[in-house]
């Protein structure tokens, strides 16, 4: 599918009034709740300090994916190709946040965001996105983050390698470079389970037809049409690795490992291989002490998981988080869990979402966990 198919985006509303609405006088008059708590009642996407977006289009490129086109509001500050954003969807009265890498060109990033979501059979959010989300729906956005971005000046020789839904950040890079009129060599290699899972294939082929510096190749890894997996030999056949070569790789851990090995064997500069992956953490059984690490993000401390509650473990690590009742009543120790899995010892409920508030005094880690502490 080519970029031209994306529906035209009307100019975002409220941009002119946004400065007035963000003024300190308005903040005083509409305090303590703030201007967004009033604006959202008129139109949920019309907030001026919280980044939000409206769904413009939902399309299915492949049976196992859904591609969203979003129009962000004036509080959204754009992204660099390759970065990720946290997108929140309200499902059953609860906001569920997931991380996605926008796939669009960063030049359009203020007006338009494209998210391609791989649908997992059990995935609460991904199934909601595919089956229930309709144009007009609201999406909450966090700021763009991540170091998986292209250097400036742009690499003269670049290979973009992706596996499965890892295509999105490298697609953003490819579209950004094409929109810039970049004339360096680009090789685009995508690995997916089967042909029906190839994401963005028509558009990439079209780009390759129009940009003679771009070569693209799609490969299936399973079934009758399966081709060779990524290796030094296969990479050397597509891309001549030299000292001025760069690689950007995004996909499952095995693909990253294969890319790193091939890069090393072909003599690529280690720092010029950019990599990003996504790994689900293994979970401990109830009652067992989990294996892994507790990261305290604000204080920069990391400790191996020990027995007891997270409050006790934070204190043992030399931190002094606020606490009150130490029995799960008063919520004084409530703390933002950035990611990871914890179990509520009072209710047995497992928390695996990103950006979830947990009560430290009645929570124990169920795997690696990162806390805003």
């Amino acid at each position: 599918m080519s970029a031209a198919v994306v529906p035209p985006i009307p100019p975002p509303p409220h941009r002119l009034g946004a400065r007035l609405l963000r003024s300190s006088l308005v903040d005083l008059l509409l305090g303590p709740h703030g201007v967004d708590r009033y604006l959202e009642l008129v139109r949920p996407v019309a907030t001026v300090t919280e980044a939000r977006a409206e769904v413009i289009d939902v399309r299915r490129q492949t049976p196992r994916s859904a591609t969203l086109t979003l129009r962000p509001n004036s509080a959204w500050t754009g992204f660099q190709a390759g970065q990720f954003v946290r997108a929140g969807f309200e499902i059953g009265g609860v906001r569920r946040t997931r991380t996605y890498s926008p796939a669009g060109a960063e030049q359009d990033g203020h007006e338009c965001l494209e998210l391609t979501v791989t649908v997992h059979p059990e995935g609460l959010v991904s199934r909601h996105v595919r089956d229930a989300l309709a144009p007009g729906a609201l999406v909450h956005l966090g700021p763009a983050q991540g170091e998986f971005v292209l250097s400036r000046p742009r690499p003269r020789r670049l290979v973009l390698i992706s596996g499965g839904s890892g295509v999105t950040p490298v697609m953003a890079m490819l579209r950004t470079l094409c929109a810039e009129g970049h004339d360096g060599e680009i090789v685009f290699l995508h690995y997916a389970r089967a042909r029906e899972d190839w994401l963005y294939e028509p558009e990439v082929r079209e780009l390759a037809r129009r940009h003679r510096h771009l070569r693209a190749s799609y490969r299936s890894t399973r079934g009758p049409g399966a081709g060779p997996r990524l290796s030094a030999d296969s990479l050397a056949a597509d891309f001549g690795v030299s000292d001025d070569s760069w690689a950007a790789v995004c996909g499952p851990p095995a693909l990253l490992e294969a890319a790193r090995t091939a890069w090393r064997e072909l003599g690529g500069v280690r720092e010029r291989l950019l990599a990003e992956t996504f790994t689900p953490a293994p979970l401990a059984d109830p009652g067992a002490v989990a294996q892994g690490t507790v990261s305290f993000l604000r204080s920069g401390r990391r400790v191996p998981i020990a027995g007891g509650t997270l409050l006790e473990q934070a204190e043992a690590a030399g931190l002094s988080p606020e606490f009150g009742c130490r029995m799960g009543i008063c919520h004084t120790c409530t703390c933002r869990k950035a990611e990871g899995a914890v179990r509520n010892l009072r209710t047995g409920v497992l928390s695996t979402e990103q950006d979830e508030d947990i009560q430290l005094c009645v929570s124990a880690p169920a795997g690696d966990v990162a806390l805003e502490l």
């Binding site: 008059l29 708590r37 929140g88 309200e90 009543i329 008063c330 004084t332 409530t334 950006d355």
Partner: protein, 388 residues
């Protein structure tokens, strides 16, 4: 302690009581969802609409109907903001929605008291140490003599006067609660220990005063006196209302108090028991419950302070049945009776004594003791959720 209202339960019974209530809590938590999010958003929408309407009407406050309507709308807005929304959101009742606007840690309310201080003095100090004399600073708010066990001092003669002043300036009374002035007075801590608390009260209070008493009146130009008077009246109304509701939570006759020794080594079941014996409900209409922030279901609220408050009415029958099974009192009554009982207590405790024969408590309210029915009031109201 008041043996008339405190049945003796064995440790096993207390543990079983705790298990039953934990089970009820677990059921409630599993059931939370869209209905609760929708409910609180509807209340918020109503509150913001009342606020905007009230402030708008007050700009035409030179017309008497506009002034009355505007003031009433603003007062209702502040009552909803502080009680059904602020108090409940800051308890963490909606943290599970993961909506930052409903996040207990971030929420600020339209009153002088900084949210952070409230979360400490109320959620922790009061809800953990409910009715434990010497620990629960809500017993008299450091100003009033509300218990026989607080030694009488001559200045307590002013108890009714202090109570009336506290009611009129309740938002400021709540705002300075965490300063613990009585401990400063007693020399336990210094003013300098409370510098940060004081600074935060100043920052929040100043903005509230500027907004209600300077900037909004100024925006009305020649109509400034009407806006000022309307805002003052709305704040006063909210103060009196919230004072009445809150004082009915733990001070009506028949509510038990506890000593620090009694709660030493308290189990989870024991904590539940103390919440049940130490709280009192109010009966009334659905609207009354909403305007009281469902603190009219104080017993249910103290058992499950982080469960969305609009659910309390739904579980009241079950909680009451549990009380009945364990022979526990379920203290409830209409506002006029419960508040009347509070006022009598405030006046009586202005004077030293009277104490019981053994130098302990006075006899309980004869009106109550004479009532042979275990549950003199009608059953709890049905489902409170607003119609969609």
């Amino acid at each position: 302690m008041d043996t008339h209202t405190r049945p003796e339960l064995t440790d096993e019974q207390i543990a079983a009581l705790g298990d039953e209530l934990d089970e009820l809590r677990g059921r409630l938590i599993m059931d939370l969802g869209q209905r609760d999010t929708d409910y609180i958003r509807r209340i918020i929408k109503l509150q913001r609409a009342l606020e905007v309407t009230g402030r708008g009407l007050l700009f035409a406050g030179f017309l008497p109907p506009a002034w009355v309507g505007g003031t009433a709308a603003l007062a209702l807005s502040k009552i909803l903001d502080n009680m059904e929304i602020g108090h409940n959101v800051m308890h963490g009742q909606y943290d599970w929605t993961k909506d930052p606007a409903l996040d207990s840690k971030r929420f600020e309310w339209d009153t002088a008291c900084p949210g952070d201080q409230w979360r400490h003095s109320h959620n922790y100090m009061h809800h953990t140490h409910t009715n434990v004399l010497g620990r629960d600073r809500d017993i008299g708010y450091g100003v009033l003599r509300m218990s026989e066990d607080q030694p009488w001092r001559p200045r307590d003669l002013g108890n009714p006067v202090y109570a009336a002043l506290l009611a009129a300036f309740f938002q400021w009374g709540v705002a300075v609660h965490d300063l613990e002035v009585e401990r400063i007075e007693a020399g336990e801590i210094e003013w300098s220990d409370k510098r940060d608390i004081l600074a935060a009260i100043w920052r929040k209070g100043r903005r509230q005063v500027l907004k209600d008493y300077v900037v909004f009146p100024a925006l009305a130009g020649p109509g400034a006196p009407f806006v000022l008077a309307g805002n003052l009246t709305a704040n006063l109304t909210r103060n009196l209302w919230s004072y009445m509701i809150i004082f009915c939570g733990h001070f009506p006759a028949g509510v038990a108090e506890f000593s620090e020794e009694e709660v030493e080594g308290e189990t989870r079941g024991g904590w539940y028991l103390r919440q049940m014996l130490g709280s009192a409900n109010l009966t009334g209409s659905r609207l009354f419950h909403i305007l009281s922030g469902n603190l009219s279901h104080q017993i249910e609220h103290h058992l499950f302070p982080d469960i969305p408050a609009h659910r309390y009415a739904e579980i009241a029958t079950e909680v009451r049945a549990i009380c009945e099974r364990y022979g526990l009192p379920y203290n409830t009554g209409p506002l006029h009776r419960q508040f009347g009982s509070v006022v009598r207590k405030i006046c009586r405790l202005a004077l030293p004594g009277p104490r019981g024969r053994d130098g302990r408590r006075p006899e309980p309210d004869p009106e109550r003791a004479a009532d042979p029915r275990p549950f003199p009031e009608t059953a709890a109201e049905p489902n409170l959720a607003l119609a969609a």
